[in-house]
Symmetry: C2
């Protein structure tokens, strides 16, 4: 029973991830999620609560998986940014999910606040020990590094692959990745 | 008559801007837009076409106003990025509108493609003449500079002011602006 329940929960979260990435919170249909998961709609309310709480659970799981796939490394931010870029290239739905979050469910969850504070502290330590650029506040540096890793996905001029992925070659993506790593290196290198 | 029509169009576009920024395309209600503009709903279809075409008109107007407020300057990208940041701080709805576009209406309009090519060419010229870093493709450099100017608004950890604007002091915003300008300077400075 416990195993079945865990498997059903996982299927519901997978289906909810796809549904929210496609339609956002307002546009998502709980019926479609239940149907895609092959589960009773009632179970969504039993396991997760309302649609917003289901969204929070999807976000929490996605961020935990992301943090596991790409561990934070204050001493190698160029490579960290490159790996975050790879993560979004491999999971375009993740970028969409975070856009929806920004629009429909802004504000940080407890997990995010905890993770952010840990990164902030690691950056501050690396700065104090002269290993990375100390001209910037750790929070600003973090935000800028993350922005660079996601530049491809936030480009407002339609350069992003979300709309026209077929036209973006592997080679073009590799070139942009190199640019991201180069830019983060320039930003994080201590004065010397 | 022509003047009345232009005034009505402008009121409809203002109302549509607010409605789309709040609810996106799928969530926007044409009735609410007409009511807020004090205009007949039918005029929206007469002037702009369907809801997607109205959204395109709103985007085109917003981008044109943005380009007028902050002219592109390939020779002073740090200041350009700072001014783009100011533009988003002053118009948080503009950031929301562009997020919705990314999710619901990706791909570049003709106007965007034209504007992008002009910026790209200006960056390429400045690179060839040794005035800015030539290690990166002009398109990559542009995307990275824009990402830095918008980092504050795309921070996935809930740092963004969209959710909790009251807690972001003028001083904190000024500090982040300085960080953006600093980072863009580091990225764009030629070697040597």
């Amino acid at each position: 029973m416990a195993r079945d329940s865990a498997a059903t929960k996982a299927r519901l979260l997978d289906a909810a991830f796809a549904e929210f990435a496609a339609y956002g919170i307002a546009g998502a249909r709980v019926d479609r999620i239940a149907e895609a998961a092959g589960a009773n709609k009632r179970l969504i309310y039993v396991y997760f609560g309302n649609k917003e709480q289901l969204f929070d659970a999807v976000i929490e799981r996605a961020l935990a998986m992301g943090a596991e796939t790409v561990p934070f490394d204050a001493d190698n931010l160029p490579d960290y940014a490159g790996q975050i870029f790879d993560l979004f290239v491999a999971n375009p739905d993740l970028a969409r999910l975070l856009f929806w979050k920004q629009l429909e469910r802004p504000g940080a969850t407890d997990l995010e606040v905890t993770a952010y504070r840990a990164k902030n502290a690691a950056v501050a330590t690396a700065q104090q020990q002269g290993r990375i650029n100390a001209d910037l506040d750790p929070g600003d540096l973090l935000a800028l590094v993350l922005a660079l890793s996601q530049a491809w996905f936030t480009a407002a001029d339609g350069m992003s692959p979300t709309g026209t992925s077929s036209s973006w070659t592997t080679q073009r993506l590799a070139q942009h990745r190199t640019a991201v790593v180069h830019a983060v290196r320039r930003i994080t290198t201590p004065h010397g």
